[in-house]
C-alpha cells in the first residue's frame, strides 16, 4: 500500500466512511471491492491519494488473476494502472501475462522498453532485465539506437548485440577464439551473463567437463536461462549430476544435436516422442518393441509402471513379458481403479493383492501387505465407498488391524490404531493393544503415554504410575505424562473430599505435587490445594494458593469458572462456595468475554469428570449465562463453534446455542454450519422434534456436504438425525453396515423387505403412496414415507436403510403408475 495512503487522512475521525471502507478492503487484499469503492470515490473527487490507491488495487487484482492463470484478465487490470508516461505499475507481471498468452514479440518489446526505467522497482529490475534478455534472444525485436551509450538502457543494447552475435557464432560452428572475443564484450554483471556462462561452458565441455559444470552453477535455477543451463548440464559427460526430472523435449533434442548422436538414436527419440504424445498406451507399445535395443529389465519395469495408466494393455504386456503375478496384476488394476475414482474396485483389487502375498513367508512380503492395508485404511478415511469386510464397524480400524498383523513392528500403526480404538470407545481393544504395545515398544514415550492413559481409564492406578515413571525416565520433561498423573491424584483427592476425608485428599495432592515440574506450575493443582487447604482451615496460605491457581488458569471468568468447577466436582463444603460465587460474579462484571476465555471454559467442561457431573456443570454455566451471551457476537470459526455447540448441548443450554448460531448466521450467511445449529437448538438436540421441513433441510445439507466431500459435516448431520431416542446406540452402531445392507437389499431381498413393509404398512397402501407422490413430489414423498415406516415395527432399521426402502417403494409406484406429477 502506498505510504501516502497508509499515513494519509483516512485514519482520522473525519474520514468519510466510504474511504475508510475502501482503505480497509485494500489493506485486507479484497482488491475487487477496493476497486469498486475507489472508483466511486475518484468519481466524486479525483484526489491523488485515491487515484494512487485505485491503481494499487488494480495491480493487486492483476496479481490475483495471474496467480489463477487468468492472464488476459490480469493484463486488462494492469492496463488500468498505466501512468501518463505510458508505464504500468507492475511491468514484470505485465510481461509475464503477455508471455503466458503467447504474445512473445509484444512481451519482448515491452520488457526492453522498461530497461533502465526508474519506475521499475529496484527489487524487480534485475529480474526484468534478464527476462528481457532471454525474450529478446528468443524473439528479437528491433532495438532503437541508444541516446546515451553509458546509460543502463544503452549498455543493455550493446550487450544484446554481443550476445546475439556470440550465440549465432556458436550455432554456426565458428572457432572458439572468435566466440570468446564476442563473449568478452558481455560483462559478468550484464543481464546476458547467463548466456556467456552457458556458451563458455559448452566450449570447454569436451576438455574440462568439471569446469564446465562449475560455470553452469553460476546460473540460478530461477533464471530465465535455467532450462538452457539444464540442457547443457544433462549433455555433459559422466551423466547428469541431478536427474531431478526427465529431460524436456527441447533438452533431449539439444543433447542429440550437441553430441552428434547417430541417426538411429535420433530416430528412436523421434518415435519415442511421438508415442509419448499419443498417451501411455502408445508409449507402452513402443517400449515393448524396443527390448532388443534397450535394457530389457528397464523396459519391463517402465512398461509395468505405465500399465495403471493403460490397463487395457495388460494382455499386450503379458504377451511381451510373461504373465503377471496375482499380486502385480491386482496392484496394477487397483492403481488404475484409483485413477478413475472407482474406490470399490480399488479396495477389491488391493485386498486381493495383499491377500495373495500374505501367506508367503519373508519380511518384505509382510511389509508389502502392511503397506497396502495401511493405504486402504487411509482411503477408508477419505472415501466412504471403502467398507472393509464388515469385521469392524469402522473399515479404517479393520485395515489397520490387518496391517498390524502383517507388519507388527510398525509403530505409527500401533499408535494410530490405539487412538482409533479409544476414539470409538472400543475399550477392550484399546486396553489390550496399549498393554501389548508397552511391552513391544518399552522405549517409546508415545506408547508409554497411551499405556498410562489406558491404565488410568481402567482404574489400574499402580500400572499407570509404573508406565508414567518409565516414561519420565526416558523423557523427564514430558509434560503430558506429568499432567496425567497430577490429574489422577486430583481425581482421587476429589473422592476423598466427597467421603469427608480432607486430610487424605491433602495427602493425594501432596503426591500430585511430586509430579509437578519446577518452573511449570499446574493451575489445577494450585486450585485444588487452595480449595482443600481452605477445607482444612489453612488460611491465609490456602486462599493465596487458590488465587494463584486461578491466575495460572487465565484469571477472570475462565479462571474462577475453573475453580468453581473443581469445587463442584469435589462436592466440598459451602465454605469455599461463597467465595467462589462472589469472585465469579465480580469477574463477569469486570470484562466482556473473549474467544480464549470461552474456549477455555469449553475445554474445562469437556473434561471427563465434568462430563460425568452434568448437573453441577449445568448450574455453573447457568451462573455465567449472561456473560456467555455477550460472546455470541465474536467471530467464531466453524471448528470453534462445533466445540462450543457440543458444550451447550451437553448442558442443555439450547437458548445460548440458538443465540450464538443466529449471530454467526448474520455475520456469514453463506456458512451452512450456523443454520444446522439453529435447527439443532430449535429441536433442543432431539431429532424427534424436527419438523418435516427441517428434516428435509438437514438431508439437503448432508447431501451438499457429501458432494463437496466434507464427510465430517455429513457425518455430524447424519449422527444428529439418527442419534436420539431409545434406539440411538443401536442406530449409531449400524451406520457403517448400512451400505452393505443396501446392496443386499437391492440385489436379493427386495421382495422380502417389501413383504415386511406390507405387514408394517397396512395403513399405507400403494394408492396412498401414489397420492403422496402426486401431492408432495417424489423427494418429499420419500421423507413422508420414512416417517410412516418409522412408526411401524420396521422403524428400528437404520435411517439410510429406511430412506432407501422408502425410495424404492416410491420408485416402484412411479414405475407402475407413471411419473410423479411434480418434483
Amino acid at each position: 500500500m502506498s505510504d501516502r495512503l497508509r499515513q494519509g487522512p483516512f485514519h482520522e475521525a473525519s474520514v468519510p466512511p466510504l474511504a475508510a471502507k475502501a482503505t480497509e478492503a485494500l489493506r485486507l487484499g479484497d482488491f475487487k471491492q477496493a476497486i469498486e469503492l475507489f472508483k466511486r470515490l475518484v468519481k466524486q473527487d479525483a484526489r491523488p491519494e485515491w487515484r494512487d490507491a485505485l491503481t494499487e488495487a488494480y495491480a493487486g487484482r492483476a496479481r490475483i488473476l495471474a496467480a489463477k492463470g487468468m492472464f488476459e484478465e490480469a493484463e486488462t487490470a494492469l492496463s488500468k494502472t498505466t501512468a501518463p508516461d505510458g508505464t504500468v505499475l507492475d511491468p514484470l507481471l505485465y510481461v509475464q501475462c503477455l508471455v503466458k498468452r503467447g504474445q512473445l514479440r509484444k512481451a519482448a518489446e515491452l520488457a526492453v522498453k522498461y530497461i533502465g526505467n526508474n519506475r521499475v522497482p529496484a527489487s524487480t529490475a534485475p529480474k526484468l532485465a534478464e527476462l528481457a534478455a532471454a525474450l529478446w534472444l528468443a524473439a528479437p525485436v528491433p532495438l532503437a539506437a541508444p541516446v546515451d551509450h553509458k546509460s543502463e538502457a544503452g549498455k543493455w543494447v550493446e550487450h544484446a548485440a554481443a550476445a546475439q552475435q556470440s550465440l549465432t557464432a556458436w550455432i554456426e560452428g565458428k572457432p572458439r577464439q572468435e566466440i570468446d572475443q564476442l563473449l568478452s564484450r558481455i560483462p559478468l554483471r550484464s543481464a546476458f551473463r547467463a548466456l556467456r556462462l552457458i556458451l563458455k561452458s559448452l566450449m570447454i565441455a569436451a576438455a574440462d567437463p568439471a569446469r564446465a559444470r562449475q560455470l553452469l552453477d553460476g546460473i540460478p535455477p530461477e533464471s530465465a536461462f535455467a532450462s538452457f543451463r539444464l540442457a547443457v548440464e544433462a549433455a555433459l559427460p559422466e551423466g547428469t549430476p541431478e536427474p531431478v526430472a526427465m529431460p524436456s523435449k527441447a533438452q533431449q533434442v539439444f543433447a542429440v544435436e550437441v553430441k552428434g548422436l547417430p541417426g538411429a538414436a535420433s530416430q528412436s527419440l523421434v518415435q519415442w516422442t511421438k508415442a509419448e504424445r499419443s498417451g501411455p498406451g502408445a508409449l507402452l507399445t513402443f517400449l515393448a518393441s524396443q527390448t532388443s535395443t534397450l535394457p530389457a529389465d528397464d523396459v519391463k519395469s517402465a512398461c509395468l509402471n505405465l500399465l495403471p495408466q493403460a490397463p487395457d494393455r495388460l494382455r499386450q504386456f503379458e504377451s511381451a513379458f510373461g504373465l503377471l503375478s496375482k499380486f502385480d496384476k491386482n496392484r496394477v488394476l487397483a492403481l488404475a481403479a484409483e485413477a478413475r475414482n472407482d474406490w470399490e474396485r480399488a479396495e477389491q483389487c488391493w485386498t486381493i493383492a495383499a491377500q495373495s502375498i500374505e501367506p508367503a513367508a519373508g519380511m518384505e512380503t509382510g511389509l508389502s501387505a502392511g503397506v497396502i492395508y495401511r493405504h486402504l485404511a487411509r482411503l477408508a478415511h477419505e472415501h466412504p465407498e471403502i467398507e472393509g469386510e464388515g469385521k469392524s464397524e469402522f473399515p479404517a480400524i479393520e485395515y489397520l488391524e490387518l496391517s498390524l498383523r502383517a507388519d507388527p513392528d510398525h509403530l505409527p500403526t500401533v499408535l494410530q490404531l490405539t487412538g482409533l480404538y479409544r476414539k470409538h470407545r472400543q475399550d477392550r481393544d484399546w486396553h489390550r493393544l496399549a498393554e501389548d504395545a508397552a511391552q513391544r515398544f518399552p522405549e517409546e514415550s508415545a506408547v508409554l503415554l497411551q499405556a498410562t492413559d489406558s491404565a488410568i481409564a481402567r482404574k489400574a492406578y499402580k500400572k499407570a504410575v509404573g508406565f508414567a515413571r518409565k516414561l519420565l525416565a526416558l523423557d523427564p520433561i514430558n509434560q503430558a505424562a506429568r499432567q496425567r498423573m497430577i490429574e489422577l491424584h486430583i481425581s482421587h483427592a476429589h473422592k476423598q473430599i466427597r467421603l469427608k476425608r480432607a486430610d487424605l485428599a491433602w495427602k493425594e495432592l501432596a503426591e500430585a505435587a511430586e509430579w509437578e515440574r519446577p518452573g511449570a506450575p499446574s493451575f489445577l493443582l494450585h486450585i485444588n490445594q487452595g480449595l482443600v487447604g481452605r477445607e482444612l482451615g489453612q488460611e491465609p496460605d490456602a486462599e493465596a494458593r487458590l488465587r494463584r491457581g486461578v491466575e495460572l488458569a487465565g484469571g477472570g471468568v475462565a479462571g474462577w469458572f475453573r475453580a468453581s468447577l473443581e469445587h463442584a466436582l469435589m462436592n466440598a463444603s459451602e465454605a469455599n462456595g461463597a467465595l467462589l460465587r462472589q469472585e465469579l460474579t465480580r469477574a463477569q462484571q469486570t470484562a466482556a468475554p473473549t474467544k480464549e476465555e470461552i474456549l477455555s471454559i469449553v475445554s474445562a467442561v469437556g473434561n471427563k469428570d465434568a462430563r460425568e457431573s452434568k448437573k453441577a456443570v449445568r448450574g455453573l454455566i447457568f451462573r455465567i449465562r449472561g456473560w456467555l451471551l455477550k460472546g455470541g457476537g465474536l467471530a467464531w470459526s466453524a471448528a470453534e463453534f462445533h466445540a462450543m455447540a457440543e458444550m451447550f448441548g451437553r448442558v442443555d443450554a439450547y437458548d445460548l446455542l440458538a443465540d450464538y448460531a443466529k449471530l454467526a448466521g448474520r455475520r456469514a450467511p453463506e456458512e451452512a454450519t450456523w443454520r444446522y445449529y439453529q435447527v439443532v437448538a430449535r429441536s433442543k438436540g432431539d431429532p424427534a422434534r424436527l419438523s418435516f421441513a427441517e428434516r428435509e433441510e438437514l438431508f439437503g445439507m448432508e447431501e451438499v456436504a457429501v458432494r463437496r466431500r466434507d464427510f465430517h459435516t455429513a457425518n455430524r448431520i447424519q449422527r444428529f438425525i439418527e442419534g436420539s431416542g431409545p434406539k440411538s446406540a443401536q442406530r449409531r452402531g449400524s451406520r457403517r453396515v448400512s451400505r452393505a445392507d443396501l446392496m443386499d437389499f437391492d440385489d436379493d431381498n427386495e421382495s422380502l423387505l417389501l413383504e415386511l413393509l406390507a405387514v408394517g404398512l397396512e395403513d399405507t397402501p400403494p394408492d396412498m403412496v401414489k397420492r403422496m407422490i402426486e401431492k408432495l413430489g417424489r423427494r418429499q414423498a420419500v421423507t413422508a414415507l420414512v416417517d410412516r415406516i418409522r412408526a411401524t415395527p420396521l422403524g428400528d432399521m437404520p435411517e439410510p436403510l429406511l430412506r432407501e426402502l422408502a425410495k424404492n417403494i416410491v420408485e416402484s409406484v412411479i414405475a407402475t403408475n407413471g411419473q410423479a406429477r411434480h418434483e
Binding site: 551423466g239 531431478v244 533438452q251
Partner: protein
Amino acid sequence: MNDPFTVLGIGEDAGDDEIKQRYLAQVRAFPPDREPERFQAYRAAYEAVRDQRKRLEAKLLRINDAALSRLKLAVLSPSRPVCGRATKATVTALLLEGIDRVCTKVSGSSES
C-alpha cells in the same frame, strides 16, 4: 513431486546406505543456502524413500518414472562428448522453456 527414485537418481532396489550416500552427495553439491529449491526436492525425495517401508510405499502405491528416465538417458547415450552445435530452433525452444518457467513462477508468487 517427481518420483523420488528419479529425483535422487537411484534404482528402485537401492538400499538404505546407497540412498543416504547419494542424498548427502547431492546436498553437498547443491547446499540449501545456494540452491534452496533443489535441496527441498532432494530432501523430500530422501524422506520418501529413506527406509524400507517408505520405499515399498513409493514402489507399490505410486507410479514411478525411474525406469523410464533411465531408458531415456540410455537413448541419449551420455558417454559421448559434447562437440557438436545445436540449431537455432533448439536454442530458441530452450530459451522459451526457461522464460515460460520463470513467468509461471512469478505469477505463482505474485499473490503472496
